[in-house]
Amino acid sequence: TTRSWDFMGLERDGVVPESSIWTKARFGEDVIIGNLDTGVWPESESFKDDDMGPIPSNWKGTCQNETDKQFRCNRKLIGARYFNKGYQSLVGPLSPELNSPRDNEGHGTHTLSTAAGRIVPGATLFGYSTGMAKGGAPNARVAAYKVCWPPVDGSECFDADILAAFDAAIHDGVHVLSVSLGGDPVDYFYDGLAIGSFHAVKNGLTVVCSAGNSGPFLGTVSNVAPWILTVGASTIDREFPSYVQLRNRKQMKGQSLSPVGLQQNFHPLISSKEAKATNMSSEDATQCLLGSLEPAKVRGKVVVCLRGNNGRVEKGEAVRQAGGVGMILANDESTGNEIIADAHVLPATHISYSDGVALLSYINSTKSPLGYITTPKTMLDTYPAPFMAAFSSRGPNTINPEILKPDITAPGVSIIAAYTGASGPTGLPFDSRRVLFNSESGTSMSCPHVSGIAGLLKALHPDWSPSAIKSAIVTSARTQDNTLEPMSNSSFVKADPFSYGSGHVRPNRAMDPGLVYDLTTNDYLNFLCSLGYNSTQNALFNVEPYLCPSRPLNIGDLNYPSISIPYLSGAVSVIRTVKNVGTPGTYRVRVIEPAGISVSVKPTSLKFMKVGEEKKFKVTLKAKSRDAAGDYAFGKLIWSDGMHYVRSPIVVKAGG
């Protein structure tokens, strides 16, 4: 990526300070990051292996290139496998050339290079945001596990292939697995991703997954197992403004990565609904689906389309096919102010909901509405940033509301990273353009940022467990934006932990968290016992003999780095244990109480004499009055020795 690491403080204007986690963790040297995705484009500059030492001797992975002899691994891309038997069981046999880990789609190359791509100077998309592309752990080795294939019935990646990839990655010697995919949450023992990630974590791998793109609606978060690090998506401080200039002198700020604009040249404007083709539904035309627009109405005009869930990129092609000269993409109410810069196939810009309403009002109230779209520019240091992406899936966790999900947020809007050479930047068949780097948005893009950071932490602290790495990332997060105000959502209303978990990832703080909330495999098994799984099931799950405790664990007592109490009735207490991973010292507690809830912590100070020492504390929550019942309320618990700030979000629903 060309900006997000600067935004997160790992570098300043291309200079990496001594104090940066990059310097301290040697840019992720000796760590292996795997990616379950659409494969990899091995020729990308992000995977070149100049000056890299020999492949680690304990690496057991392989490079499957028997059908694609051009596909080569190297000392950077040390492994690439594909898994498609589960996919083929549904669609039938694939043509032999598809038996390859090569990424024909672009998604896997983008995510893997975001996690651990090497430093590539001069990275750009159509001349925008030119800079040095870097992954989170540029010196880490990478391995691609291709499990996603062209969509069938709306799905691309299947459990049977995902499990096979997890089994291989664990065996191969991967340290961090990045998984930018998911489905609706289901019971853990019936979910290939939850099962695979459990085995991975049990074997010491950190598993980072995307939270999903079903926001902003509540209860939509996926990948909710407590052993997974689940990542939401937010913006960075970079915009690609492209303005809509109307004849009535009004101007609207949109964003775009179209190679050209309609500079200083007024064109007739039309709403796509008005441009509906005969025999097509108004709904299809409103969304600018391919073939939904009437060429006679559209020719030479700029068409206003509504954003929908069917993909933003097809709309531009629909306008172009109908003879339109430009497109203005307007948000609906749910997506508010979240505007995304995409590589549209014609002059186009994406505007907010309120600007869309004003624009349609101008079109509907004017006899000859006219306007043009300016060529995009790159703007840095924009604010407020970050704010939550509207598409980012939100809690509460529908499987176990006692476990707060997502855990964290990271950059996931208009992220420029390496791309496949097999598809155009819109990813659609009609796009014959080819780019080395592309801009993509989604929790898929935020997930590998955290995977890269997890890789840096693994390099810095090879003895830390996956839970310790997760805790360090979660408890060091921040909830303020760059205006020092609380982070907001895409409508600029204050966001909450159901959107961002503990907040925005802060890598330089994560390397020295002071204390961690650690968890072992047995803790997760106790958690499963509490959900009703018995000793026999858990023994099979774990293999080693295992007996559920005679007194089941209170789920709220799982030593998670956040606290979520979905059913507060009377007083509820939860226990946590913190482990010192910093210097000896005394930590004191501070609580920001959720509205209407009293929170007491005992003891209020914890003294640590040495590294590895553990201390327990008890948090008791109680509604301040009977009237407190209702919505979720949000607070914070902070342990600090004056140098470290170990923050845990508190989420509570009284009378729930």
């Binding site: 069981s89 709306g154 019936y190 979910d191 939270a211 799950f541």
Partner: protein
């Protein structure tokens, strides 16, 4: 025998393996064979099980993926070593 159209792909999950990751390669054939045996006991023969199973998870994860009809999936779920049987569900890129 039910037609191909009646079959769907399922995951049959047994939990973990008792062997270490290092031992996995040595024991791979034995694990695969045990999967054939178990499914064969439901389908009526080891050969039928070999036809049905398209993945055996042999390293850390213990289980297999196979094309089964609903009744076969129900039957295998009763096997004492089975933790869960579930459809080969699709996921989306995010």
């Amino acid at each position: 025998r039910p037609t191909f159209a009646d079959k769907k792909s399922y995951i049959v999950y047994f939990g973990g393996h008792s062997h270490s990751s290092e031992e996995a390669s040595l024991l791979q054939d034995r694990v695969v064979d045990s999967h054939y045996e178990i499914l064969g006991s439901v389908l009526g023969s080891k050969e039928k099980a070999q036809d049905a199973i398209f993945y055996s998870y042999t390293r850390s994860i213990n289980g297999f993926a196979a094309n089964l009809d609903e009744e076969e999936a129900r039957e295998i779920s009763k096997h004492p070593g089975v933790i869960s049987v579930f459809p080969n569900r699709g996921h989306k890129l995010h």
